[in-house]
């Protein structure tokens, strides 16, 4: 029981400290703003560990963080293989193809208001659908290997990026377009120099939504059939063998990969759209 009450006590103490810290003037600083959520996260881990040890929760229901860490350390090569199979081959290739196709499609239909008025409601509709459901069909068409996962990802990311890009290309005001016209800029010039840069915040919004969708698509598609590696495959088989520490290890890798992927896209966004009000004054 000492573990249980110790961790609860630590949690209360840390919470009181955070509450005190949040009221201080230093809470405006950047370091403290990072420290408070970090402390909160550490407290959760310690509470988790304490509850599991104190209440003797069996490992097949909830493994402790230390056990998960041991599982990560003990199966690094396997985790790396799954990461390459699912994230690099499945999710990333599909992401690049799907987003590229969406941006190109948006630019093509940009010249035709008719197509835009027809495609946008359809695109908005499809973006709200449970597109993961298409996974079994695509697995049937493209086989068990990463190609079918990439195909699922392409379908999942296409419409959010398309809708955002079309909205972005429309986001220039009359004065700016008139200015391009007075310089007698061609369609291509005004697209490249004015409208595409102006659309970048919207495009990146779509790209950021698509990062999570890509990982979800690649992992869930593996539930419908995959070669004997990959994160979705590992999760579903490890659950079947009740080795939950391995499942949590895969989830930790997925969380890490997801955050890193998102962070990468957000970093590129900051470099590309440095002029946008939401990026200034940081």
């Amino acid at each position: 029981m000492i573990w249980f009450w110790g961790s609860v006590g630590f949690w209360l103490a840390a919470w009181a400290f955070n509450a005190w810290l949040a009221r201080q003037k230093v809470a405006r600083g950047r370091a403290v703003r990072l420290f408070i959520p970090a402390l909160f996260g550490v407290t959760l881990l310690i509470l988790w560990e304490g509850v599991v040890r104190g209440l003797k929760v069996p490992g097949v229901i909830l493994p402790a963080p230390t056990q998960i860490w041991a599982a990560i350390g003990g199966s690094l090569p396997m985790l790396w293989g799954d990461f390459v199979q699912t994230i690099l081959k499945g999710a990333l290739s599909g992401y690049v193809m799907g987003c590229g196709a969406a941006v190109v499609t948006a630019i093509i239909i940009d010249r035709s208001p008719f197509l835009q008025r027809g495609l946008l409601p359809v695109g908005n509709f499809v973006a709200a659908l449970p597109v993961v459901g298409i996974a079994p069909i695509l697995v049937m068409w493209f086989g068990f290997d990463w190609h079918s996962k990439a195909a699922v990802v392409v379908v999942m990311v296409f419409f959010p990026v398309l809708v955002n890009t079309v909205a972005g290309l429309a986001d220039t005001d009359r004065m700016q377009r008139d200015q391009m016209a007075t310089w007698s800029a061609s369609y291509g010039q005004s697209l490249l120099k004015l409208r595409l840069p102006a659309a970048m915040p919207f495009i990146f919004n779509g790209l950021k939504i698509a990062t999570t969708l890509a990982l979800i698509g690649a992992i869930v598609a593996e539930f419908f059939g995959s070669p004997v590696r990959g994160m979705g495959f590992r999760i579903s088989t490890a659950v079947g063998q009740l080795s939950l520490d391995l499942v949590w290890a895969e989830i930790a890798v997925a969380a890490l990969a997801g955050s890193a992927f998102y962070g990468l896209v957000a970093g590129i966004e900051r470099a590309v759209t440095f002029w946008h009000p939401s990026q200034r004054g940081r």
Binding site: N18, L119, V122, V132, L215, I219, F223, F224, L242, F261
Partner: protein
């Protein structure tokens, strides 16, 4: 407005028929070669659009599958899409109610407690970048081993997926009143509860509906994925999985369209409530 949409939709249907003929032709040619016969173009057309297990079912086959699933079966039959759709829908709605309710409560806490804001908010935002759906099989199996089965494990996954969009959206919504409005209430000596009910909550409604639309779609996805590991227990996810095991493509497509209809219906209901509410508040046209 309607003409371009219908044009695009009919182009999609035409493309779909073309793709169905193209993808299913291989099977027809193989069958003909085995029988030692030649296929004329009209025979090819007729055969590719009426196969039992086509690679890509033609639109009318999917429509027939939907019709069969909705109207030709008793609603309690295991082959009825109404039966499976209801299983999924009930899990979706329960999870959606739990998730969005908890999300609103947490957002209230975040807005009123600075320590909570600083500690929880970064994690709520970071959690959106994580493929949460990956935990679905584990949640099902773990809850089953503790003795919780049926609708609740699926609802937990749905709730988890619909939770974070609501937290992030509502934290933004409760903060949307301008400083001048907050100052005004301070001059009235309003309590925190009064400020909340008379200013913050009404101001947050547009944000509430926007995030509810996202989260109801997410909770449907959660319920469907939650049905995958449960196997034959019923629901649209189980329909998808058994269809993919046995190569019943028409069954997969019918389940998929049922899910799409459900999602569209749920989003439209919320949209209608949004429109009515905002109009009565004088906020939307």
């Amino acid at each position: 407005m309607l003409v371009p949409v219908l044009t695009v939709l009919s182009v999609i249907v035409v493309l779909w028929y073309g793709a169905a003929i193209w993808l299913n032709a291989q099977w027809t040619y193989d069958q003909a070669a085995r029988a030692g016969a030649e296929v004329s173009f009209s025979e090819l057309l007729a055969d590719t659009l009426t196969q039992d297990r086509p690679v890509l079912p033609a639109p009318h086959q999917v429509a027939a599958g939907l019709w069969d699933g909705f109207f030709a079966q008793k609603v309690t039959s295991k082959r009825s899409l109404v039966y499976h759709g209801w299983i999924t829908l009930s899990a979706t709605l329960l999870g959606f109610a739990i998730g969005s309710g908890a999300g609103i409560v947490l957002a209230v806490g975040i807005v009123h407690n600075r320590a909570m804001d600083l500690s929880v908010m970064p994690w709520a935002i970071a959690s959106q970048t994580i493929p949460i759906l990956a935990i679905a099989p584990m949640v099902i199996v773990v809850l089953a081993s503790v003795g919780v089965t049926g609708i609740l494990p699926k609802a937990v996954i749905s709730a988890y997926l619909s939770f974070f969009p609501v937290v992030v959206g509502m934290a933004k919504g409760f903060r949307s009143p301008r400083p001048m409005q907050l100052d005004q209430l301070r001059t009235y000596n309003a309590t925190r509860a009064q400020t909340f009910w008379k200013l913050r909550f009404p101001a947050s409604l547009p944000y509430l509906f926007a995030s509810l639309k996202v989260s109801v779609a997410a909770s449907l996805v959660g319920a469907i994925v939650g049905e995958l590991p449960a196997g034959g227990a019923g629901g649209l996810g189980a329909r998808l999985l058994s269809g993919s095991y046995y190569g019943q493509t028409i069954q997969i497509w019918s389940a998929l369209f049922t899910a799409a209809i459900l999602a569209a219906g749920l989003v439209m209901i919320i949209g209608a409530i949004e429109k009515a509410t905002l109009r009565r508040m004088g906020m939307g046209g």
